[in-house]
Symmetry: C2
Subunit: 117 residues, 2 copies
DNA sequence: CGGGATCCGAAAGGATACTG
DNA sequence: CAGTATCCTTTCGGATCCCG
């Protein structure tokens, strides 16, 4: 009675909550966005995302591996090279991330540059 | 050269980053989702979202007001009633949030109940 | 190169009490 | 009802050092 959720949907959805807080976590969204464009190596991601530290990148990457959104591929050469790429579920995030990106271009796009920096 | 971003898009987008970390912040996604279904009063939101404290709800709501995604309406009665609702930009988040929700239903949906605990 | 382990200050978040 | 203020615990995140 007090709630009008009688239409079938509810105000709160655990799965949605898990998903949004997963991809919205500190640097995760940026990492996922970079990976949407193809596999990337650790240092490529590090270089592509401003202010992201190596420790945090490793941490986020491990979390994403745990959620099976990202997979890790090791190329043993003398110089070890590790590439990260989206799994099937990760790739399916593209639609959602693109929607967020479109909204961002329309609404947060404003010249909010923090100077020339 | 070293990057194949010559196709026009780049690995990092400040606006996207701002947006994803905004809506993905701790409880923000859940609050927005609840508000998509119509205006809600403070305590309604508080009751709808498990484990969310009043302090945090107030904080998130103020952040969203600052971003002009949510607007506040005060109904002065003897019992003060405050309702929150999405602004134009907030309503346009529906598409993005719905996409996230659809992904969640397919991938995180699994009966990941934390048991009876 | 691609991380893991540790240390420590900063920030987020919960609990409680109080106010209009 | 709808918050605010304070306290105090937990987590986050940066710096540094080390390893395969």
């Amino acid at each position: 009675m007090s709630e009008q959720s009688s239409d079938g949907s509810s105000d709160f959805c655990p799965r949605f909550h898990h998903a949004i807080e997963l991809i919205g976590k500190r640097w995760t969204g940026a990492v996922l966005r970079a990976l949407l464009r193809g596999p990337r190596r650790f240092n490529e991601l590090l270089g592509a995302i401003p202010d992201l530290s190596d420790r945090l990148l490793a941490e986020r990457l491990r979390e994403l591996e745990g959620e099976e959104i990202v997979s890790r591929h090791v190329d043993p050469g003398p110089p070890v090279r590790v590439a990260y790429e989206l799994t099937a579920s990760g790739k399916e995030l593209e639609t959602a991330l693109t929607c967020v990106g479109q909204w961002a271009e329309r609404w947060v796009a404003p010249p909010k540059r923090k100077r020339t920096a």
